[in-house]
């Protein structure tokens, strides 16, 4: 915008105008976003200070969690968070990709929007209701049907041994998988829909079958975006609280078996935060929260970066019709 007056050639006198006030006011509102991130980082670090000074790095590797004797180690929670989230990805990614492909390519035209809407509705269900359903529907089914069946067929693996409680890591992974399905599906579907038509036509014209076309065009085109979507799903899974708290079993132990109960970072915060009766206990919990904050900040940052990059590539390189 020209800041110089065309007639006099001088800069106009600066006065407080409505426009300036408007700009400043909206800027202030927008600044709440970085302020929020910064504020969280500062407050969490401050709150965790006592535990950080007391335990140092050993906090991350200690396995005992004993509020009575004020011994705190976060390893079981970190382990449980990572295992349940990875398990969720293992289940959710193939299903999401298949669903996205079906919605973008295979479904008849009139069914695409309604089906996409139904899949997205799954994302609207509150976490606590997944948990409720997990306790009273999923866990009993796992205990009576799925886990005995897994034990019979794959029982030689260390992951499927031990008593079947229903409640445990497997239940947490399954619930998480269901919860992150919609986000991975909808991002991937958008990416598939943005695949340039000439590329598809070219592959088909060269004699590729539909599946070969998908492999040769769709997946390479959307690769970094799909990776972004998966990492986005991972971020959700890492921080998901209520549903996991309700089905994971809440026992701070490290066990190879997926049938065994475990614990996650978010779950221990949900269960113990309001009961922390000493400063060090509270500080240790806040430090666990700080770890979760930093991990999810990193994971979500990476995911967004990948999706943006993929989107830009599509916008720039898309020699569309």
């Amino acid at each position: 915008m020209a800041k110089v007056n065309a007639l006099s050639g001088r800069k106009p006198r600066r006065r407080i105008s409505g426009d300036l006030i408007f700009k400043r006011a909206t800027l202030l509102a927008a600044l709440s976003i970085p302020l929020f991130v910064l504020g969280s980082a500062i407050e969490l670090t401050r709150g965790a200070g006592e535990a950080i000074r007391r335990f140092g790095f050993s906090f991350l590797f200690q396995t005992s969690w004993d509020p009575v004797n004020l011994k705190f180690g976060a390893l079981p929670f970190i382990y449980g968070t990572l295992v349940s989230s990875l398990l969720a990805l293992l289940i959710a990614v193939p299903i999401s990709l298949g669903t996205a492909l079906f919605l973008a390519e295979i479904a008849p035209w009139w069914l695409r929007d309604p089906l996409s809407f139904i899949v997205e509705l799954l994302a609207a269900i509150p976490s606590v209701i997944f948990g409720l359903w997990g306790i009273f529907a999923l866990a009993p089914w796992l205990r009576s049907t799925a886990e005995p069946a897994l034990k019979r067929t794959l029982g030689f693996l260390p992951f499927f041994q031990g008593p079947a409680y229903g409640i445990g890591m497997l239940a947490a992974g399954l619930i998480l998988a269901i919860m992150i399905l919609p986000i991975i599906t909808s991002v991937t579907r958008e990416l598939f829909l943005s695949t340039p038509v000439p590329l598809k036509e070219g592959a088909l014209a060269l004699g590729a079958s539909w599946w070969e076309m998908v492999q040769a065009v769709f997946f390479p085109h959307a690769r970094s975006g799909i990776l972004g979507a998966i990492i986005l799903g991972l971020g959700r899974a890492l921080g998901e609280t209520m549903a996991v708290t309700m089905v994971v079993g809440n026992r701070p132990q490290i066990s190879l078996s997926l049938f065994a109960p475990g614990y996650t970072i978010a779950a221990v915060l949900a269960n113990e935060f309001s009961e922390a009766d000493s400063n060090l206990y509270l500080s240790a919990l806040i430090e666990i929260g700080l770890i979760l904050f930093l991990i999810t900040l990193l994971v979500n940052g990476a995911a967004r970066w990948l999706i943006w990059k993929s989107g830009w590539a599509a916008a720039k390189g898309g020699s569309g019709p």
Binding site: S17, G18, D19, I21, K23, A25, T26, L28, A29, A30, S32, I33, P34, F36, V37, S40, E43, R46, P94, G98, T99, L101, F102, L103, I106, A107, F117, I118, L122, A124, I125, P126, S127, V128, I129, G131, L132, W133, I135, F136, A137, S209, W210, W211, R236, L238, G239, T241, M242, M246, A266, L269, F273, I286, G289, L292, T296, V299, N300, A303
Partner: protein
């Protein structure tokens, strides 16, 4: 030989498409079973008393979650006071003045922020508004929920404003009104249906949030209209009842779940309708 290859190709094709269909079914089945379960188990426990009465102590049958339903409404109102102005004006800034590095940075942070676990917001609100006063309060819960609204509302507002045709802006400016009036009275006005949709979706999302309330608004078995006192919320009550050892409370939890699902899915459907009609 060629015939064999063609057949093999076709078989693999069919197999892949069949697997995609299976994947779709696998992602729809959970939703359907959850909804049916909530209808079956919640429907039988739902009654007028559930919607109008306070929770009863253990052992007494009956009672309801009226205070939790009202509490959720109060929390959403408090959250809106924090989240809506900041979100909408922040979105206006990003759309109108945010085409530079700093704007991209805020945009990126907003996207990242929407993926930060809500329980972390709860800790933030706890250290700011609970710890200094040594007292749980509805305000702290509303603040935590309001923070969650900012990024989504801001990004929705921004995307809507960017879609407003330039001719509309030019027409308004040509009539001589100042820039800020043009933005508020013409541009934002023309997308208010979309912004309302975004707000409803944000409300639907925080309405079901439990984690940030556990140690901010905390819960309360009685009526409470004081924003500086602990307050109950529907998802909190569902959580507490679900983990209790009493069958009666389990049934109540399911009834609460049915009410919550109805509200949340209702908000989603209404926002869809608004979007369709405002187009």
């Amino acid at each position: 030989m060629n015939r064999y290859i063609a057949l093999k190709k076709r078989a693999i094709n069919r197999l892949a498409q069949g697997l995609c269909l299976l994947a779709l079914l696998a992602s729809i089945v959970p939703l359907v079973t959850i909804l049916l379960d909530a209808l079956a188990r919640g429907g039988s426990a739902l009654s007028l008393a559930f919607l109008t009465e306070l929770p009863r102590p253990v052992g007494e049958s009956g009672g309801g979650m009226a205070n939790a339903i009202v509490g959720s409404g109060i929390l959403v109102a408090l959250a809106s006071v924090v989240g809506l102005p900041l979100g909408i004006f922040g979105g206006i800034y990003l759309a109108e003045f945010g085409a530079h590095r700093f704007g991209h940075f805020i945009r990126f942070l907003a996207d990242v922020l929407s993926g930060i676990p809500s329980i972390v917001n709860g800790i933030f609100a706890y250290t700011l508004l609970v710890l200094p006063f040594r007292h749980f309060s509805a305000t702290a819960g509303g603040f935590a929920l309001g923070l969650m609204m900012i990024p989504t509302v801001a990004r929705t507002t921004e995307e809507l404003i960017l879609r407003v045709p330039t001719t509309l802006r030019e027409g308004a400016l040509a009539l001589g009104i100042p820039y800020w009036k043009m933005v508020l009275r013409v541009v934002v006005r023309s997308v208010r249906g979309g912004i309302l949709t975004g707000i409803l979706l944000a409300i639907a999302r925080i309405m079901g949030e439990t984690a940030p309330l556990l140690f901010t608004s905390f819960g309360n078995p009685f009526w409470s209209f004081n924003v500086f006192e602990p307050i109950s919320a529907l998802p909190l009550q569902i959580f507490n009842y679900a983990l209790s050892p009493f069958d009666e409370w389990h049934a109540q939890a399911w009834a609460g779940a049915l009410v919550l699902i109805t509200i949340v899915l209702g908000l989603n459907l209404v926002s869809r309708l608004i979007m369709r009609f405002s187009k």
